[in-house]
Symmetry: C2
Subunit: 363 residues, 2 copies
């Protein structure tokens, strides 16, 4: 392997790929990136066995070959180089890197030992806009569980219902659902939230379409020259749509940013009670109240004028309320609830493609 | 105590003062701020017994009084409030805080239990420009030691020599000295670096003069409405000026930013050797070389064209070289050294008010 690439391109590729390489695993080669000539391009790839990311970049190729080298070192090194041309040359299991000012040798490991994820063959494929997928992931990922004892809840469900694709996640304390796009194919994919955090990273600057390809076992996201493959989660996802309330005894319509502010301030007084706050809506006075008590520290009452229908109060985890409100887009939102034991729903006050549900705390 | 203040002023005062309050100490009241009416102003103060910071702000005072309340809670709370008028009212040992939207009660502790640092009486006093002091602290603080076994080295020495005030710090591995200003008074103050980090914080936005007042035990920095008092370190500071080399067998003049870059990149290969790199200057080829070897990872040679006088090489800790270079202001710098066991000096290539000395590693 001998080739020339620009520092800019190699640095960008390593920035997308190298973070997947894991220096603390039991298999040392997983801390390496695979460099491989494919035609007249250089492929840079890394995997943690659950997901694999690869990126192709233009190169001036002199001889073929492949090698793995420590991901972190190569990334930090290339990132520190001045912009311009870099020459890479393989010398058995060593990678020589030369620029005007630098002559470096990085010790590597044979590419034959690098684990490759199985290809997706004959799968289904569809496209969606990268900015829409990015927004959806930002809005639902926080609701996925990090508790491995119920693996299905650590995923995000991509599912078509009546020809519309939705993304949804729940950790059983809260639920977020985003309406994505109309789609002819029937889709039901449960994708690990951890993999989707990496998807979010690789599509971050991508303006065009994302191609999604999947079979029963794996899903691939392709954004330009970057590909990410992840294993799907097996198991039955709960029928979360049954949990979405369709009518409310009490609703309040108000500016989202103002409710965020008073909830944040109130949460300072909720530390002793594990974040517990009481939200009350009062129709006669057209107001919402948030009450928090910290027996040692003191107490806080905050209020806002709202458009209220019905009166009632409910106890919530302030952290979940802040997360939910911050995930929303709408300026004016509606908070709606029924009894003290039923779910609270946050949604835009106008028709919206996002809803967020929070289960109450016992009070 | 009953008064009105603006959220902006109280928030700014708490931002300057509250960080000194320590929630992990053995004396619980040290995690509180003291609020105290002084004339028609509110004084906000905190201390950790080594330093004390206080800030005065304009207030509309109705009744006198004083109280201490948890610093972190009050700061976070006030920071979250909308701008506008806040009413503070003392109710025995509780502080009631009222705004348009909030009614809060924070439980406090009597002001009588709050420790007060002794006043500086009949001390010496002088002034210097805040931006100059800020720059000096940014340039010398990193050279102070954090090893409490030699307390004098944990301080920064402010000392007049022949009518000029210098600030200097050394941890015995490196030394930084900044020429500050001409000064008529004779000054010799050893001030804890930890206190000076707080000084840096309180003078950060201050454009005018700083007043420095000190006696044998304490020093006070006054910037507008903010005061910081710190205990001085006792003991004899080493005569560091003897260590400053006055001539060099080898010198190189080059752009500081370029030397920073190649040192950073080289340091990636110096992790296995505790940061050790070899810096070589070669007069015939007019170049500087940095060589780093990581037996497992590989090796790196980096070079730059320089204006060289004499040839030689020396082994340095790359971290110290980067720190020193980054603390400098000059665009073009000179690196000079003698034998392998003698100190390396970094200074501006033109007359400069800052110098940085690094002791070599054994090679």
């Amino acid at each position: 392997m001998k080739l020339k690439v620009t520092q800019e391109n190699l640095n960008k590729a390593l920035g997308l790929v190298a973070r997947v390489a894991n220096t603390r695993g039991t298999l040392p080669i997983l801390s390496n990136v695979l460099l491989k000539i494919e035609g007249n391009r250089l492929s840079v790839a890394a995997t943690n066995l659950d997901i694999a990311i690869s990126c192709q970049l233009g190169a001036q190729v002199q001889t073929e070959g492949s090698l793995t080298v420590p991901a972190r070192l190569l990334q930090d090194f290339v990132n520190g180089l001045p912009s311009g041309v870099i020459e890479l040359e393989q010398d058995d299991q060593r990678l020589k890197i030369t620029t005007d000012s630098y002559k470096s040798v990085i010790n590597g490991v044979s590419a034959e030992e690098f684990p490759v994820m199985p290809a997706i063959e004959g799968g289904t494929s569809w496209k969606m806009s990268a900015p829409l997928l990015k927004k959806a992931l930002q809005q639902v990922l926080m609701a996925a569980s990090s508790d491995e004892s119920r693996p299905v809840l650590t995923g995000v469900l991509f599912q078509t219902v009546d020809g519309v694709l939705y993304a949804a996640a729940t950790d059983s304390y809260r639920l977020a659902e985003k309406r994505l796009t109309e789609l002819k194919q029937e889709v039901k994919l449960l994708i690990p939230a951890t993999a989707l955090h990496d998807v979010l990273r690789i599509i971050n600057d991508h303006e065009g379409d994302i191609t999604v390809v999947h079979d029963d076992q794996q899903v691939q996201f392709r954004a330009g020259d970057v590909e990410l493959v992840a294993r799907l989660i097996e198991g039955n996802y709960p029928d979360y749509r049954k949990l979405i309330p369709t009518s409310f005894a009490t609703t309040a319509v108000l500016a989202r940013s103002e409710l965020v502010n008073i909830t944040k301030v109130s949460s300072l007084f909720a530390r002793e009670s594990a974040g517990s706050i009481v939200v009350s809506v009062d129709e006669p006075s057209e107001s919402i109240w948030i009450h928090a008590v910290a027996s040692q520290l003191g107490e806080n009452n905050a209020t806002l004028k709202v458009d209220a229908k019905g009166s009632g109060s409910i106890t919530l985890n302030s952290r979940y309320l802040i997360d939910g409100l911050q995930a929303m887009d709408a300026k004016m939102i509606q908070i709606g609830f029924n009894g003290k034991l039923e779910a609270v729903m946050l949604a835009g006050s106008e028709a919206d493609d996002y809803l967020h549900i929070i289960m109450p705390l016992k009070s």
